[in-house]
Symmetry: C2
Subunit: 322 residues, 2 copies
């Protein structure tokens, strides 16, 4: 059996999958991303462990894998497998040869790509983007990431394309975690929204967000926390999410005005958790800003959900070995 591994390295979790020859997921495992200061080496060890568990879940050994792909956040050099920097992974400072380290551990070639790019490719090849040749992927989570497939080919520009989260939607606007102002992510990123929610909460505004967070045993306002607060009609959560939707509408419409893509696929932790009703709200928020009003792009919920990144990573390995 031809089997390929894929690993999605996230700031809080490591997701591994095994794909069979038809790209079906036949095994998967999820581990927390180490936060104990062990740096990239410890992270790589956990990635090996997750991949091992996923392989066992498929009734296979690591030796059965013909290759492994990795999607990593931050500045990734796909040619060398080196992750230059990865600010969202605890303790990851400076460049680390992730591809070579994992390749030694697995005994097969390891392809490393940007996490958002591989997730976009997964949606393009196997998910919501399948009917289209030109797709913008928007991953709405802690940050807001973007990936582009133009006429069937990944578009990375000089290596850093897709930063839709740092398109300016309000010049001189709200502070963004990136240090700039007015970026889409400053309004729509879960990280920025949590900072704002804490400020408002500390200033005495009523919200159930932090109560829900504690009851769920979380340290952060995870996507499920936001979803529960919205279900319970929490006004502050609604207001912040509404602001996020408006910013996503303006930013995505701007990208569409520039590129005129056929389809936009909305994924990421918040996107996948809030689902179709919010995809429709994002489209509604785009409409007032679309220059060509009579043919908006298809705006679709990511079909592969949480596994998209790991599946896309495995596909990256396949395209390399194909």
């Amino acid at each position: 059996m031809k089997a390929t591994g894929g690993i999605d390295l996230g700031g809080t979790k490591i997701q591994a999958v095994v794909l069979d020859a038809e790209h079906a997921v036949v095994g998967q495992a999820r581990l927390p991303t180490p936060r104990d200061g062990g740096g990239p080496a410890a992270v790589a060890q956990s990635m090996v462990r997750a991949m091992t568990e996923a392989t066992q879940g498929a009734g296979l050994d690591l030796a059965d894998l013909d290759g492994v792909g990795v999607g990593a956040p931050g500045a990734v050099d796909s040619a060398t497998g080196v992750v230059e920097r990865s600010p969202n992974i605890p303790g990851w400072e400076g460049a680390f040869p992730l591809g070579a380290t994992l390749s030694d551990a697995f005994g097969v070639p390891v392809a490393v790509g940007n996490d958002v790019d591989v997730a976009t490719e997964a949606e393009f090849h196997l998910g919501a983007g399948r009917p289209y040749e030109t797709v913008l992927g928007v991953f709405w989570g802690t940050g807001v990431g973007g990936g582009l497939v133009l006429e069937g080919r990944r578009w990375i520009g000089r290596g850093s394309a897709g930063e839709i989260g740092h398109m300016v939607v309000v010049r001189d606007g709200a502070p963004c975690p990136c240090g700039r102002r007015g970026c889409l992510e400053a309004y729509a990123g879960r990280g920025a929204m949590e900072v704002r929610a804490r400020e408002l909460h500390d200033a005495g505004k009523a919200t159930k967000l932090f109560e829900i967070m504690e009851r769920r045993g979380k340290e952060r306002l995870a996507s499920g926390v936001w979803a529960e607060a919205l279900e319970k009609g929490d006004r502050l959560a609604e207001r912040l999410i509404e602001g996020a939707v408006e910013a996503l509408g303006a930013g995505i419409a701007s990208a569409v005005n520039l590129l005129d893509v056929e389809a936009v696929v909305i994924g990421g932790g918040l996107g996948s958790r809030l689902g179709q009703p919010y995809v429709e709200r994002i489209l509604a928020a785009m409409r007032p800003h679309l220059f060509v009003t009579d043919q908006p792009p298809a705006v679709l919920l990511a079909a592969l959900g949480d596994l998209g990144g790991a599946i896309g990573a495995a596909l990256r390995s396949r395209s390399r070995t194909a």
Copy 2:
């Protein structure tokens, strides 16, 4: 001698050129765009006249042209040569078969493209964009138009890509001539700036802009009017141009964050008239918004100036007949 004609149809002028086999301009003519309500037919007649004059200036006859290309504003169907609508051309309502009409007049094939797209292609092939494979053209004039060449190929998406002027830089911001709010063009377009200047002037703010306009015998705040006011230290003009530069910085940086292009070429009436110092100011205004700070794209003044559109139109004819 192999000679090709190119015509740039603008809201105020029609510019025609004749290119020789080496793409050098060997003849040119400029006529005002008819504003007497004759509609597209009258405009087409003036285009024939401009092309005839340019050909005579080159010591040639219309019969010597192997083809003619046209760059037209608005919604252009390159496959059929039909201009579906062209809001900036006086009296142009509804679709008009511009390509077929001119082809009958000239007796050669006529290629019709979008004016901004052909101007971008001219800068890519023969102008400031020559050293690069991936270029964003930004044409700063009455409106703000954009054109894209990605890895050597024109990018039009589903037909309407490049609308950088309608990327949102301030959500719920200033009204744009397009009817929306907060678009880049609402701050940087000469049309929107003139409206704002009139409002401020009518409200009693001091400015020499309208005095200069009248002395120059213009009915509008042409690019030369703005340039003279800036030279004379007109505070209101400086303030509005500064706002335009800031908006261009945010909008172009957003486009760069999304696409990571190698080069940005700044042209258009205002861009060409204000020149290199303002290109540098635009780059400075982009910097605070660029996600990858250590490798900004090259930001360059358009090299073909006023003739870029007509030259690009002729190139479009050549690529069609090549």
